[in-house]
Subunit: 294 residues, 2 copies
């Protein structure tokens, strides 16, 4: 099985391309929707979340995990690879940043823009990866903290989306092409097109799918085709019903019954959302440095 | 000193009212901007963050901590009180939920709306607190995940703000008054007024300040007036420069030099933001269950 990890719904748009390119495989998708958005979070929180997510996917039987989330790919990918994918481990974690950089360079543009989350922009990873391939490409980054939320609300075709997109693009000098550095942004293609007619939009997802097909051909037997093929399981940390409803738009197909996982003692484990706590929550006392504690 | 804790900038709007009501006291503000927004987070993550924040404020010398954040007040307040504020501890943690509920009931309306984050809504705490005071009040909640982000961007007076506000209010049946259940929302008063002319808006912050003055009068000597009075320190977990720039709007005054704190070994400690990591981050190996790890 191939695991796909994202901060929320957005990665389902990547999964869609992967399923089309690799119909003979089974997939397990983990969307950390209960803790999304990731874009403004500090690096060590992201490392914690990324460790929990890939460990859950390894435990579900995935030898190969694709990190669809740009923020995690930019900040945590090397850590995940070093921590889990040593020689003989039989595990691989692949990200979206290198395929994205390859796509940005492949079009031969002199000035490429990147629209992304704050954390992706501040990491500088896309700029570094593009310059490894071609140091002459001028890269202009723009953080767009609201855009993922606009798509999560299902408002991608609204006037709100277009106004937000205009405000962010107005902060960026003219570019020949714009790399969509967040899995939510392909859904804003309409709003982006109305705001900047003729601007070439670069979606890393189809490029990532082609790269994955090539990678599997170079590593025969690493992930075996399933029998019967094409099963899909979906796990999320948020509301499973809302995830299935919203997710259909991203996946372009009906989302199978969504399994709920939650952080329990620092790990993501299956949990019954009906048991989610309500109201005030009091945790049992642990060894406390605070005299006068209960 | 009085500590004020919020997930980010929003609580500075509460601090503003507290400073006006209690000019003879010193304040320490802690904004967890590096890990905001809190509104979509799971309950146990919120408990961890809240413990770290109030412990930092106790260690700064605050005997009294006001939780300005509605989400933390709704989910974590009882835990914080039981854990840190036992008899003889000399510590108190007060939240915004009970003053908010008192305000909602005080106006004598039959139908009150609450606009808040997803987590505040799902906790049901505001509804429970209002019904403790008056079980006949009909309470209608509406989650508004995008609104805090709109204010964080400084777009509260834009058409975007008004369109978002309209969409959220359209999901709510008519109400006589609307409780602003997030510290960011008072900044949307203009947009809310244009979307629903004549709708009465209830901001818990001035009410909380009056309640705190009364509480201090009932507990003489609990927090002593400072000499000289009126000092303010501001700590944040995100970018201190951005915090000072954005924060001025919320505080209505110049923000003093912002001190950076970061999570180090599970606690919030002072840290030099110049050492914030860039690019890919690799954490040292801890005891690993994963054979083949580096």
């Amino acid at each position: 099985m191939i695991g796909v990890y994202d901060s929320g719904y957005g990665g389902l748009s990547v999964l869609r391309h992967l399923v089309e390119a690799l119909p003979e495989h089974d997939f397990v998708y983990l969307g950390d929707s209960g803790r999304a958005p990731y874009g403004g979070r500090d690096a060590h929180t992201l490392l914690d979340f990324a460790e929990q997510a890939v460990e859950r996917l390894f435990e579900e039987g995935c030898g190969l995990v694709v990190v669809a989330c740009n923020t995690v790919s930019c900040v945590c990918l090397r850590h995940l690879q070093q921590r889990y994918c040593g020689p003989g481990s039989g595990r691989r974690v692949l990200g979206v940043t290198i395929p994205g950089a390859e796509l940005a360079v492949s079009i031969g543009a002199a000035r490429v823009g990147i629209l992304a989350t704050s954390r992706t922009v501040s990491s500088g990873t896309y700029v570094a990866e593009i310059h490894k391939l071609d140091p002459t490409v001028q890269v202009l980054q723009q953080a767009a903290p609201l855009l993922a939320g606009v798509v999560e609300e299902g408002w991608e075709d609204s006037e709100i989306a277009e106004l937000c997109v205009r405000r962010y693009l107005d902060r960026m000098p003219p570019v020949e092409a714009l790399l969509l550095g967040c899995t939510h942004y392909p859904y804003l293609a309409g709003a982006l097109g109305r705001a900047r007619p003729g601007l070439r939009l670069l979606d890393p997802a189809p490029f990532l799918a082609r790269r994955l097909v090539e990678w599997l051909a170079r590593h025969p037997g690493f992930v075996t085709a399933a029998e019967p093929p094409g099963r899909l399981r979906v796990l999320c940390t948020g509301d499973p019903q809302a995830f299935a409803e919203h997710g259909e738009r991203f996946l372009g197909a009906r989302v199978p019954p969504v399994e709920h996982v939650a952080e329990i003692d620092g790990r993501l484990a299956h949990a019954d959302p009906a048991h989610a706590p309500k109201g005030q929550i009091v945790r049992p006392r642990r060894g406390s440095r605070w005299p006068g504690s209960s």
